[in-house]
Amino acid sequence: MIFNRIPFRQRRQSLVVAFTAATTAAILLIILTFFSYIFINGIGFFWPSNINQINYQLQDQAIQTVYVQGKIKQNSPLNITGHSEPAQNKNIVLQPRHIIERGQPDELAEVLLYSGRKRLARVVGFEGAKDQQLTKDPKELLATYTALKYTTEQLSRRLEQVLLQELAEVQKALATLALPTTAKDAVQKLALMRQYRQLNAAVGETRRELAGYQILLDPGDRQTVSVPINDVAQLSFPNSLGWSGKVWHWMKNVGRFIADDPQRTNSRGGVFPALFGTVLMVLIMTILVTPLGVVAAIYLHEYAPVNRFTSIVRSSVNNLASVPSIVYGVFGLGLLVYHLGTSVDELFFSDRLPTPTFGAPGLFWAALTMAILTLPVVIVAAEEGLRQVPDSLRKASFALGATRAETIWHTTLPIASPGIMTGVILAIARGAGEVAPIILVGAVKFAPALPIDGDFPFVHFERQFMHLGVLVYDGAFHGSHLDQNNGFMFAVCLLLLMLVLVLNMLAVVTRTKLRRRYAL
């Protein structure tokens, strides 16, 4: 009897174990899928994939050509969607039977424009080049392009110089002389007018000259399209690149992504302002939160009287750590921005009113809000660290004649430092990833003006800033599943994810290092 029951019991246990293990595995698989999905899409965005040339024929129509980037599955329908070519902006589903021929000729180019658009095309030639090119060799084409690009860059720099400086100066001078009062002024005005006309003519000339440099593209079966070289951000021939060339190209793309300014559409270009904004905000937050949190923790643990009230305060602080982040955002907007900010404006920036300076969401308020949000985290972690310092050590320090201040400074704090550092870094990681409060208090989706620049006072705490998380949030509203721009958003996601994970890992490493150093 009993022998019969044992296997049954065992089987039941096996089932429970298998089930719990499988759910654990399921969670881990979800996490794995999540990471790898972001990773593959984010990394893949920079990869110069090959361009396929597909010749196809729909019923009773002429043979047409389309260029498609990326891997193409054999024997499965092919969706041609959302190409940035105006004429190709149609949705066709190509069945395998429609496709007549496919190939990856070397001379197919990927042309990125400054407007954020991408064209896949065959480079036919250049306007403005010394000799009309008929070559198909990507290397020669690229060399010609580089030479022409250099010329156009020189020209556009000159244009900018004239427009922004010389012409602007003349205009300013003209504005002051708008109503000439004396004959001398009138003469001066005439001279200025002449100068203005000359400069304007020069601008027109340069513009015409710039327009003379064009790249001729064949985006399919149609006539050649010419695109001003000045509008082209990058020309590449992914099919002609070898493995090493592709890696180099990929690295260049990554570098550009991190270091460049965003394009208007937030779907191409770089994310430097967002990365910079995130890091700067987190930095200010850390500077604010660390001393405050540590001091509060020292007070709570070392100085506060041991009574019921203190323990209520302690558990309240603990509870504050899990108050929804949006509530802190509401607090930041209501108290910091609207109340404090308005008062600051009235005191120090009254000359700029009613345009608010600090009375509107901005970098400093965002950092302060995040500091208050992470304050409970730091206090709890730091107090936990202080609690781990054995009382005997404190007593020994007192016995040696040290004052309380000396005991704290030389004994307690160093030993508690792993806990404190963990708290601070966890706060940083949370600060980098939290989006809900900062969309209320200062982060916006597009603010190319960095909070730090060459204008006095160099650091502009009141400016709105860009944030990686806000970029992701915004991208989710404007992207769609099939959109090729998603690659960009995934790259942003990956960057944010790496930032947060690196910070978390840093917390772990610091903790172990400090623990080893101050091991008891």
């Binding site: 298998a18 881990l28 972001i38």
Partner: protein, 710 residues
């Protein structure tokens, strides 16, 4: 003589003690300061919500002297208050009248004349009206035997009054040319005009852009009209009877009132009106469209205990101000409740613009500031079903952005229900996953495996929720259609396949699962689960098109519900896992060993000892997870459609309190009712999560006590 060394030492001692004291002072001060800063948070949320519980109050700020005129109209022209008054010149027998416009500027105490029209002495040719933020001037004049009605748009700028002609029409009512009182009303292009003649009121309706289509209607001499051009309606008062005349249907229906109607005011949306009865009662009537017929109902009685002389409405702030002989009543327009009354100087007319109230008596105009306008909200307006204007019955509605003239609807119920719904969905997904994983990690897994599982799952906790939301929106939501079948099958088939696996294992091995200490077992199950998942999902995706009708009942809202449940569930699962795992792991070893020593299997020990001991801890973990889900903002904001619906149907869209704050707070004007209601919702979130945390903390302390009692 003191040894210099000793002296030096003494100095060091003094400075040490000084430093000690200074540090103690600094730390005490700043420590208490930081803790106070956190109390400021609570205090601020509280004080910003408090105005909702108080009442509005008008306080006098300015006073203007009016010249000797008989005030006829008080209104805004381009944001500045203007009085129109009749000036009478008695030169000899001839009485000559003029209509003069005076601006009330905040810089001057004397009203300044800006314009004068020559006018009729008995009833003015001119009528002003503010409509949709614009001011209009209508004239009704006999010119060459034709009765012409003309409307001009009027604005004020530095040059003075600017008139722009809009339209003019020949009413040609003709034979009876002696016009008594007249008034007009308009809605977009539609204009209604009421004109008193000897025979009774003559009524006209016209489209100002089209010359033809003038419709007429006449009333008996004892009937009075109220114009409602928006719905082409007329309200006709006759003693205790109210008639509703519909112009398109040419039909009339009657209702009765308790007492004869003294006066009536149309609310800005022209879908409801306010009646002041002779017995001092005031009632609010509201209409809704039912199959082309407009049904008007009395939605509320306002017991102001005194007849109303004038009424003004600020609908977007839910505020109505009624002027009585000696007092002022503030009513909430959403619920039509009398909020508060205050004594007031005698006046005949009112003007309400935002929080500025102007009262007009025959010689004076006074400006009042309405303090605490958010106090107009009542408990009913926030928490009860309210029969809003244009709706078929009372309901919970949150609609803060409304059209001009509409009443903003601030019922918190849809948001609270939305938050709870989302949190419950998340709990439904997260708890089985997290607790089951916690049981495995804390109880079954060998230590080596645990060191991998625990940090592995806890990394998920540090992932910004915006990323989870992003993936849910851009990947999960679009592909859900393809994998819906797979998901259901996976949930069904995984336990079955595990059952098969255990049967196979018990066939081949004498030891049950859970005895392995090398980690191989977990690896095997991990791979097994992975393979099963891939198999089921790829196979199901292939069959999906043929069984798509199976999921036909799942509309888009239902799918987004599923996505919310999955995304939010995954987001809160790691925190539930971490706390539950900790609780399970901390069950004293002695107990487990005693159980094993008595011959219990691992499963029996789990059921009878570990789970029972750790139950408060697990509950605390679930509670905290619930709190996190309620407060989570980004995922809900990104994944759901953010439609506030007060409906417990889980397959309907939702908007949570937190997402609502993120959407609406940046747009709310400081000091408005909307702003304060949003703060109240933030306070609610705060109090709720604080309470949830306190409960969780209590449970945890009970768990700790249990463990230490052993």
């Amino acid at each position: 003589m003191a040894n210099p060394q000793q002296h030096n030492l003494q100095r060091i001692q003094v400075s040490r003690i000084f430093r000690d004291r200074a540090l103690a002072l600094v730390i005490r001060a700043s420590g208490i300061g930081v803790l106070l800063l956190l109390t400021v948070l609570v205090w601020q949320l509280f004080t910003h919500s408090l105005p909702l519980a108080q009442t509005p109050k008008a306080e006098k700020t300015l006073e203007w002297q009016l010249p000797e005129t008989e005030p006829l109209w008080l209104g805004d022209i381009t944001q500045s208050p203007v009085v129109a008054g009749r000036v009478v010149d008695n030169n000899g027998k001839q009485r000559e009248c003029r209509l003069a416009l005076y601006t009330l500027s905040t810089h001057e105490i004397q009203a300044r004349k800006i314009k004068e029209y020559s006018d009729n002495c008995s009833n003015s040719h001119y009528q002003f009206r503010n409509f949709n933020g614009q001011s209009y001037l209508a004239t009704m004049k006999m010119e060459q035997d034709a009765l012409t009605f003309a409307v001009k748009k009027i604005t004020l700028d530095e040059r003075g009054l600017v008139e722009t002609s809009i339209f003019a029409i020949d009413l040609n009512s003709a034979n009876d040319t002696t016009i008594g009182d007249w008034h007009w009303q308009m809605w977009q292009n539609r204009v209604q005009i009421a004109m008193q003649t000897k025979a009774g009121w003559q009524l006209f309706q016209l489209d100002r852009d089209r010359s033809e289509g003038l419709k007429k209607h006449s009333l008996n001499s004892d009937q009075r009209p109220l114009l409602l051009p928006r719905w082409q309606q007329l309200v006709i008062f006759n003693q205790q009877e109210i008639g509703f005349f519909s112009w398109p249907n040419q039909s009339i229906t009657y209702q009765t009132t308790h007492a004869p109607v003294m006066k009536a005011w149309t609310l800005p949306a022209q879908t409801s009106f306010l009646l002041s009865l002779q017995n001092g009662q005031t009632s609010l009537w509201s209409g809704y469209n039912q199959n082309g017929y407009i049904n008007f109902n009395r939605v509320a009685n306002i017991d102001a205990q005194s007849p109303v002389l004038d009424a003004r409405f600020h609908t977007n702030n839910n505020m109505g101000v009624l002027l009585h002989a000696q007092k002022l009543s503030f009513i909430n327009l959403a619920t039509a409740e009398l909020v508060v009354q205050q004594t007031f100087n005698p006046a005949i007319r009112l003007l309400l613009n935002d929080n500025r109230l102007i009262s007009l008596s025959s010689k004076q105009a006074q400006a009042w500031k309405i303090g605490n306008p958010a106090g107009i909200s009542t408990w009913n307006s926030l928490w009860n079903r309210v029969w809003y204007d244009g709706y078929h019955g009372p309901d919970y509605i949150w609609q803060s952005a409304v059209g001009e003239g509409q009443v903003a609807k601030f019922s918190l119920m849809p948001l609270v229900i939305g938050s709870l719904k989302a949190a419950l969905l998340a709990i439904l997904v997260a708890v089985p996953l997290a607790v089951s994983a916690a049981v495995y990690s804390a109880f079954f897994a060998p230590p080596k495996v645990r060191t991998w599982i625990k940090p592995g799952i806890e990394t998920l906790e540090s992932i910004p929720s915006v990323l989870i939301g992003f993936i849910a929106v851009l990947w999960l939501a679009p592909v859900l259609d393809n994998y819906l079948l797979g998901l259901f099958l996976f949930i069904l088939l995984l336990p079955l396949s595990l059952l098969l696996l255990t049967l196979l294992v018990s066939r081949s091995s004498r030891k049950p699962l859970g005895s392995d200490r090398s980690g191989f077992e977990f690896l095997a199950i991990f791979i097994f689960t992975g393979i099963i998942a891939i198999l089921i999902f790829t196979l199901a995706a292939r069959f999906q098109p043929s069984v798509i009708s199976l999921f036909g009942w799942l509309n888009d809202d239902a799918k987004s519900t599923l996505v919310v449940a999955i995304a939010l569930g995954i987001a809160i699962a790691p925190s539930i896992f971490a706390l539950a795992e900790e609780a399970l792991y901390a069950v004293p070893k002695e107990l487990k060993q005693a159980s094993f020593a008595l011959g219990a299997t691992r499963l029996q020990t789990l059921n009878n000892i570990v789970l029972k001991m750790a139950m408060p801890g697990i509950l605390s973990a679930v509670t905290l997870g619930f709190g996190r889900a309620v407060g989570e903002t980004m995922i809900i904001l990104m994944v759901t459609g953010n439609t506030p619906i007060a409906n417990w149907n889980f397959f309907a869209d939702l908007r949570s309190l937190s997402a609502n704050l993120a959407i609406e707070l940046p747009k709310a004007h400081v000091g408005d009712l909307h702003y304060h209601v949003l703060f109240l919702s933030a306070l609610l979130l705060f109090v709720f999560t604080f309470f949830i945390n306190a409960v969780a903390e209590f449970l945890r302390s009970r768990m700790r006590k249990r463990y230490s009692d052993i």
